[in-house]
């Protein structure tokens, strides 16, 4: 069976959940080989093997001294050397750029924002804010596929996890943009919005200075906090938490909307969530059209009660 390269997302030696999703998807196509760029592979290797990685290619941390190009070079060369059937990356902004560059080097094509894939590497895409489903494929060369987080349920399968150090000679063109500083964004203990399995979002109905009702519910569920644009524009919550057409696109297993009307621009960023709960005092609010479960009522009584109930049942 041909190898399928999976670019590993990791933080401090810990493998991110999305990578276990990618390894699960890769097994449909062939034999997963994880590609680890940077330090920490000795800590993360076991987790990769647990999700079926037969090989773990490790590349030196220096590749991360430059923006995206070295990793693209590495993936393209590995794909060629190993005769890979496909390259899978998570669909983050940086990885999508890596995917595009790798595809150009391979003379192949790239498929982004993929939500499903079959053994022939025909991919499913959810477009126009989830209103339309398309299938695509790469016509020539090694397909490069950028998969959205939470699209696959990770399934364990033991792999050999054999480590192999690899490297790549960087052409000057790959060193064009150097990373000069890294700053860790303060986000506390909460997961990253686009990767979170559960997102709790607040809208204008939450009211100014009352976002702790959203945060408390989020924290009992280990969820990320999101916000509508109305909230962000009013300065009640920071910009990077906006969900929607002009904010982030999220596709969690569970999305809880508190005091959000459900405008089309907001729905565009969240309607592919697998389960949606809405709390709104207006029974006519369009968010209820999407909701799997809705409560018509005041979020300031419903949300704290929900938080308390979850804590009780833990």
């Amino acid at each position: 069976m041909a190898e399928v390269l999976v670019l590993v997302d990791h933080v401090d030696g810990e493998v991110k959940k999305v990578t276990t999703e990618l390894l699960t998807a890769a097994r449909r196509i062939g034999e997963p080989s994880a590609v680890w760029v940077g330090d920490g592979a000795e800590n993360g290797k076991a987790a990769l093997a647990e999700f079926g990685a037969e090989k773990v290619y490790t590349a030196p941390a220096e590749l991360n001294d430059y923006v995206v190009a070295p990793t693209a070079q590495l993936l393209a060369e590995l794909a060629q050397d190993k005769g890979a059937a496909a390259i899978l990356v998570s669909a983050t902004a940086g990885n999508k750029e890596i995917a595009g560059r790798a595809a150009v080097k391979l003379g192949s094509g790239v498929l982004t924002d993929v939500v499903d894939v079959n053994s022939e590497v025909v991919t499913e895409h959810s477009i126009f804010g989830g209103a339309t489903v398309t299938h695509g494929r790469v016509k020539t060369g090694v397909p490069v596929v950028a998969v959205r987080p939470n699209s696959f349920v990770p399934e364990a399968a033991s792999g050999a996890g054999a480590e192999e150090a690899v490297s790549v000679d960087l052409p000057d063109a790959a060193k064009g943009a150097k990373v000069v500083e890294r700053v860790v964004e303060e986000q506390g203990e909460r997961p990253e919005l686009t990767e979170a399995a559960v997102v709790v979002s607040g809208g204008r109905g939450v009211g100014e200075g009352k976002f702790d009702v959203v945060e408390q519910l989020a924290d009992t569920l280990g969820a990320a906090v999101g916000a509508s644009r109305a909230v962000v524009d009013s300065g009640w919550y920071p910009n990077q938490f906006q969900v929607g057409q002009t904010g982030k696109t999220v596709s969690p297993n569970l999305y809880i909307a508190l005091g959000i009307s459900g405008a089309i621009q907001h729905r565009a960023g969240m309607q592919t969530a697998k389960n949606i709960i809405a709390v709104n005092k207006d029974p006519e609010a369009p968010i209820f059209e999407l909701a799997d479960f809705g409560v018509v009522g005041d979020l300031h009584t419903v949300a704290p009660q929900l938080t308390e109930e979850i804590n009780k049942r833990k």
Binding site: V198, A291, F293
Partner: protein
Amino acid sequence: MEKINEPRYPSFKLIMQAKKKPVDEKTAADVGIETDRIGLANATTETVDFAAAPPRAAGTIVKDEGDGGTKAADFLAEKKFV
């Protein structure tokens, strides 16, 4: 943030002036583009099919009678989130 995107609309006078500008037409070969790498026939990806997303099944909507949060927790339990 929003303000950076203020479009500048051309006046009627500018539109008329633009119409008089010479248009220099070039072929792909003129500008050094390899013609065997462009166009639909040479695209590296293709869309196999497309369809409207299946509608979401209608959900359960309840009115809060003092137990809305508890009922939402029941839903979460049923879906194995708690």
